[in-house]
Every structure is written in structure tokens, then in C-alpha cells.
């Protein structure tokens, strides 16, 4: 009886009064039931995996290993961020892995064989990525070839290009200091780390409070203060604990060489995360990406240039793949024709899907790539510590990807059963 009353009457907030925490929680539960799982499955998976590995293998929870998780997962996470854009349109880019390999090869060849400075080599690698994306996007959007086929062809061809670029399979080792800083040796001095952490938390709090204020001032539905408090405390707790752990000395032999501070790569991934989230959520371009993914015909009728959006997501994806390739080159201190090969692509697609991005288009966020990337990194790292063979790792990662795709498909079915889709 009470429930029917609540659904029929407009909520108090519509008249300008703020929502309460209870309203907010009820909405959240309703969304979960309707199949809008959001980040929940990935978070649960992450907590479960960390607990499991932490108990089964205590070295998993050391500061050294914690820092390793970031350096190991970064390349896949960055590629997954780009893939989110492509997946949002219901397309796929199977060539993202080898595109990152080609861009890493370009970087290595220019850096080592042609003695280009590091910034020029990085620029060239990123431009290569953008060009690759442009070609793929034009083939898909203008010629109308299914993205699956275009990128499968590119998957093969890029493998060949990488081989040709670095003389049939030799290994180019990278010694440039600046490149190695990216995902190998670069660490933020502890006090700067704490300053960064404080700045991020303060900025987040200010943003949330300001948004709430201006909404309340205009008489719009706003997030209750209690929810903002919970969000800020959660972020502060997670960030604080992470910075503390990363600032511990994780050197195997502290007397010989001290190893402390946030790895550079954490900052890089953080900046990319904030930037792309802003693009997707706060700009007209991002809105149009969602619209084209949700209903292409509606987007076209609304005057959106659908072809341009479709091309642009492939450009973003391949450009991010280039960034991922540079990160991988930095971490491995070398580039060979297998950089970006084997499991990189599947891990990246897996990361996006595990995080909650739909394979059917229209649904996905950048944070999905980060959370999913963390899950993939934890599985890889934890199973490595438990001395499982690579074969067993592949099987487990494959199963987790399948599980995530299943959750995606089931939540869609639930949504349509609940009349939501």
C-alpha cells in the first residue's frame, strides 16, 4: 500500500526539497533489481579476489606487490579505456592490441635506430595510433564494413607491420631515461604524493558540494549531503590507504636502495581517467557517443553526424592503444614483435566488460576500464604468485570474461523483463 503511494506521488525533491539518504538508497536498490548493476560486480570480484589471494599467498599483500599491480595492469587498463568508446557504439576493435604493438615499435625504432628525442618519438607513436584509428573508422563508417571484420584484418596486418618494423623479430631494448620513468622507474616523492592525494580529495569534495549547491539553488533534485559525505570518506579512505602503502619502502634490500613513492604510472592513469570521464559525461561529444550507441536512427534525426562519431571512437581507441603501447614498452624496457600481442587485447576487452561496459552498446563508463583492469591485474598477479602455469591463468581469465559477459547479458534480459529496455 505504502509502496504504491510512493510510486504515484511525485517525490518531494521535485518541488525543491532535498532527497534523503533513504530515497537515494531505495533508488539504488531499484536500479540493481532492474539489472543496472553498475560497478558492483567488479567491486565484489575485486574484494573477493584480494581476500582470497591475501589468505592463500601472504606476499600478495605486501607493499612491493601492491605497487607491482599498478605497473602490471596499466597498459591493459589504458587500452581498455579506449575500447570503452568503441564498445559504447556496439562496435569492437580487435586490432587494439597489435595497434599498441605497432605504435611501440614506431617509438622504439625512432628512439634507438634514429636517435630521436623521447618526446618526438612519443609524439610519433601517438600520431601513428590516431592515423590507424582514422583508417579503421573510415572503413567501418563510410564503407560500412562490419568493425569485427575490419579490425580482424587489421589484427593480422598489424602483426606483420610490427615484425617488419623491427627486423623480423629482434628485440629493441630501450634505455632512454624519460621513457623508462613512465612505467618502470618513475616514482613520486612521498610528500608530493601526499600533497597530490590531498588536492584530489579537496577537488572532489569541492566539486560535489558546488554541484549540489547550484542544483538546490535552482530548485532541482540534488544528492543528499549524507551521500556526499559517504562518497568523500570512501575516496579519502581508499586514496589515503593506497598512498600510505605506496610510500612505504618496498625495496627488497632497503639498505642498498630505497624504493618508495607512488609510481608515475598511477598519476598518468589517474589523469587519463579524469580526462575521458569528463569527455564522456560533461561534453556534448560524450552525450552524442551515448546517443549513437543507444539509437543510431534517433541520433541521426537529432542532427548528430553519426559517421563522424563512429570514426572518432576508433581514433580515440587506437590513440589510447598507442599510449598503452608506450607504457608497455617502458615497463618491459624493450619492444619486440610480440609487444601488444597474445593476451593483451582479450585482457583489455575483458577489463572493460568485467567493469560493466556492455558488449551490446550504449552502456559503459571509463571507470569500468579501471575497475576491470584491476580485476585482470589481480588475477594475473595472484595466480602468478601461487605458481599456476600460464595455461591455468588463461583459463581463469577466460572464465572471468565469460562470467562478466553473462552478467551483462542477464542484466539486459532482466531490464527488458522489467520493462526497462
Amino acid at each position: 500500500m505504502k509502496a504504491t503511494l510512493q510510486t504515484t506521488r511525485p517525490r518531494a525533491s521535485a518541488t525543491g526539497q532535498p532527497e534523503t539518504l533513504r530515497d537515494y538508497l531505495r533508488d539504488y536498490v531499484a536500479r540493481l533489481r532492474g539489472g543496472e548493476m553498475g560497478a558492483l560486480p567488479a567491486v565484489i570480484m575485486l574484494v573477493f579476489l584480494c581476500t582470497f589471494f591475501g589468505i592463500a599467498r601472504p606476499p600478495f599483500l605486501t607493499a612491493l606487490n601492491f605497487a607491482n599491480l599498478f605497473t602490471q595492469g596499466a597498459a591493459v587498463t589504458v587500452i581498455a579505456m579506449g575500447l570503452v568508446f568503441v564498445l559504447l557504439l556496439g562496435e569492437i576493435d580487435l586490432s587494439a592490441g597489435f595497434a599498441s604493438g605497432v605504435c611501440a615499435s614506431v617509438l622504439a625504432v625512432l628512439l634507438v635506430n634514429h636517435q630521436w628525442p623521447w618526446y618526438a618519438a612519443i609524439g610519433a607513436a601517438i600520431v601513428t595510433g590516431a592515423c590507424i584509428g582514422l583508417v579503421l573508422g573510415v572503413l567501418v563508417a563510410k564503407l560500412g564494413i562490419p568493425s569485427f571484420v575490419v579490425t580482424l584484418a587489421a589484427f593480422l596486418a598489424f602483426q606483420g607491420i610490427a615484425l617488419l618494423l623491427i627486423d623480423n623479430g629482434t628485440n629493441i631494448s630501450i634505455t632512454d631515461k624519460a621513457i623508462l620513468l613512465i612505467d618502470s622507474s618513475g616514482k613520486v616523492v612521498p610528500w608530493i604524493g601526499w600533497t597530490l592525494c590531498t588536492v584530489v580529495i579537496t577537488a572532489f569534495t569541492a566539486l560535489q558540494v558546488m554541484r549540489r549547491r547550484s542544483r538546490v539553488r535552482r530548485g532541482l533534485q540534488a544528492v543528499p549531503p549524507s551521500v556526499i559525505t559517504i562518497r568523500v570518506l570512501t575516496l579519502a579512505g581508499l586514496l589515503g590507504a593506497s598512498v600510505y602503502a605506496l610510500n612505504l619502502d618496498r625495496s627488497v634490500n632497503p639498505l642498498l636502495a630505497s624504493q618508495r613513492g607512488i609510481p608515475f604510472i598511477v598519476v598518468i592513469v589517474g589523469v587519463l581517467f579524469v580526462f575521458w570521464t569528463f569527455v564522456l559525461n560533461r561534453t556534448a561529444y560524450g552525450r552524442h557517443v551515448y546517443a549513437v550507441g543507444g539509437n543510431r536512427e534517433a541520433a541521426r534525426r537529432a542532427g548528430i553526424n553519426v559517421d563522424r562519431i563512429r570514426i572518432s571512437v576508433f581514433v580515440i581507441c587506437s590513440t589510447m592503444a598507442a599510449v598503452g603501447g608506450i607504457i608497455a614498452a617502458s615497463r618491459d624496457n624493450s619492444v619486440d614483435p610480440n609487444t601488444g600481442g597474445s593476451n593483451v587485447l582479450l585482457y583489455a576487452v575483458g577489463a572493460a566488460v568485467i567493469g560493466g561496459t556492455s558488449l551490446f552498446g550504449g552502456k559503459g563508463r571509463i571507470i569500468d576500464a579501471v575497475l576491470g583492469g584491476a580485476v585482470v591485474a589481480v588475477i594475473n598477479n595472484g595466480m602468478g604468485l601461487m605458481m599456476y602455469s600460464p595455461g591455468q591463468k588463461f583459463i581463469v581469465t577466460g572464465s572471468v570474461l565469460l562470467l562478466a559477459a553473462t552478467i551483462d547479458a542477464i542484466s539486459r534480459r532482466r531490464a527488458s523483463a522489467a520493462g526497462l529496455r
Partner: protein
């Protein structure tokens, strides 16, 4: 019928290849009134509104908008004049919420950032001006809306942009009884707010419930355009099915004048629809 009509079509002809779909059609609509456009399948209703909306160019005929002749050769021309068609298949994005859908393609921005507050405010105001009470929150995803609510959002989207002519293509075709009533109420309110509304419908009850004028097309000709109060249900059905009803409608010599016309007009449906795709 007083004052200048918002839109007047004179002597409109439209052919698809050898098929003459619209013959010398005259059609007038006024601000503040609902004009129902009725006719059997293949009578040319869709072709007529698509000519008005600029989707099909006219072969011949005049289009007079608020007293001055205009040419509408492209949907953008129609949009500039303030003519908006609410299509039967709605064209909403399920994964976006109501505000996002209403402003799709015409987002308000401050700098490069979307101005969510202004958009949300204006969407809420527009819905309120149409006395829409069925929608709980403008931040609801369209996927979670019922058929009637979706129709409401699609219509409100047309109103948001200060359009002068709103063309509704069978807005109640897929709705239940209660939702049909809500949408019809909304259609009436559009006209009361000063818009010229064209309502395409097959349902005579809906037509008589909200229309001021009824225009009946019969095999590509305008059989009659009459005030709704001056005709009965049965007369309109007769106009639709035979093109005339007593003194109303196409007289027999007009119809007999083009025997070859009725031949090719039997084919109207297929090529006409085919050309849309």
C-alpha cells in the same frame, strides 16, 4: 477560421515515378487548432506530411507559411520554419534520460561543458507547461518509461523548441485506454498553447475527441476539410472509404474525370512506402 492560416498548401502534386500519389491537394492549418488528417491506407497521409516536413520535395504546388510563400525542400528548411514531425517510432534513445533526449543534438553549453542545470530546468518547465504529471523525474531513463510517457516525452521535445507546427503521426496507435486519454489531453493542450497541430489517426474516437477540423484524403485527393462539429462519425467514415458523403467530398464527375487515376492509385501504397526506405 479566422486570421492568416499558419500553413496553407495549394495544389500540391507528388508522384513517385508513374504513380501519382497526391493530386491537387489543398490543405490549411491554423494556430491554436488541431487538424485531424484521416484517410485509408495509401490515401497519401504520410506523403502529405512528409512533403510538409521537407522529407519529400513537392512536384508542384504552393506552400504558404504565415502568409508568405516558402519552399521546403529539406527537413532543415522545415525545422527553420518551426515545423516538427513526431514520428510514430519516436526516435528516443533508451539509454539516455528525459532531459538528455529532449535536448539531443541541441545541447545547451557553457564553454565546452554541458549546461545540465539550464537544460534540466527548461525540460521540467516544458513538461509543467503541458501539465504533464505522469513523469516522476526528468532524470529518469527513457528505457524505464511506459509507451504513453515516451509519447509524452517525444511531444514535449517538439514543444521545447518553440515550434509553430507539430505533426503527430498516429501518436495513440500503440497505447492503452488510459494512456491514449493522457496523450489526447496533451495534444489538445498543445493547440491551446497556440500551436498548429496536425494529428494523423485511424481512430475516429480520437479524431472527434480533440480535433477542430477534419481533413479527409481519398486516393490522393483532398475529399473534404471541414470543421469537426459539422460532420458526423458516419460521414467521416464515408469520406474515407468512398471520397464523398452527400454534398460533401469529391463529386462523381471529379472522380470519373480520371478513370486512369484510380487504376494507378491502387498501387500507391507499395511504391510510396518503398521510396521512404
Amino acid at each position: 477560421m479566422n486570421g492568416t492560416p499558419t500553413l496553407e498548401i495549394r495544389g500540391l502534386n507528388k508522384s513517385f515515378g508513374p504513380v501519382h500519389v497526391l493530386r491537387d491537394v489543398d490543405f490549411t492549418i491554423h494556430a491554436g487548432q488541431v487538424t485531424a488528417l484521416v484517410g485509408d491506407n495509401g490515401a497519401g497521409k504520410s506523403t502529405l506530411v512528409k512533403c510538409i516536413g521537407g522529407i519529400y520535395p513537392m512536384d508542384s504546388g504552393q506552400c504558404i507559411f504565415e502568409g508568405r510563400p516558402v519552399t521546403v525542400n529539406h527537413p532543415k528548411d522545415a525545422a527553420r520554419l518551426g515545423i516538427e514531425i513526431v514520428h510514430q517510432d519516436l526516435a528516443l534513445c533508451d539509454n539516455l534520460n528525459i532531459v538528455e533526449n529532449m535536448f539531443l543534438g541541441r545541447e545547451r553549453r557553457s564553454g565546452i561543458v554541458l549546461d545540465e542545470l539550464t537544460m534540466e530546468r527548461r525540460a521540467a518547465e516544458t513538461l509543467a507547461s503541458l501539465s504533464v504529471r505522469t513523469v516522476i523525474s526528468v532524470r529518469q531513463q527513457v528505457a524505464s518509461l511506459s509507451g504513453g510517457q515516451r509519447q509524452t516525452v517525444a511531444i514535449a521535445k517538439a514543444v521545447l523548441w518553440n515550434n509553430k507546427v507539430v505533426i503527430l503521426d498516429e501518436p495513440t496507435a500503440a497505447l492503452g485506454v488510459a494512456q491514449t486519454a493522457q496523450v489526447l489531453e496533451l495534444v489538445r493542450r498543445l493547440a491551446d498553447n497556440g500551436l498548429a497541430v496536425i494529428l494523423i489517426s485511424h481512430n475516429m474516437n480520437d479524431v472527434f475527441a480533440v480535433s477542430d477540423h477534419i481533413a479527409a484524403l481519398y486516393l490522393g485527393r483532398m475529399a473534404a476539410q471541414v470543421p469537426a462539429t459539422e460532420v458526423t462519425h458516419a460521414q467521416v467514415v464515408e469520406l474515407i472509404t468512398s471520397g464523398h458523403s452527400g454534398p460533401l467530398g469529391l463529386q462523381s464527375q471529379q472522380k470519373a474525370g480520371s478513370p486512369e487515376g484510380s487504376d494507378d492509385l491502387d498501387l500507391v501504397t507499395d511504391p510510396g512506402k518503398g521510396a521512404q526506405r
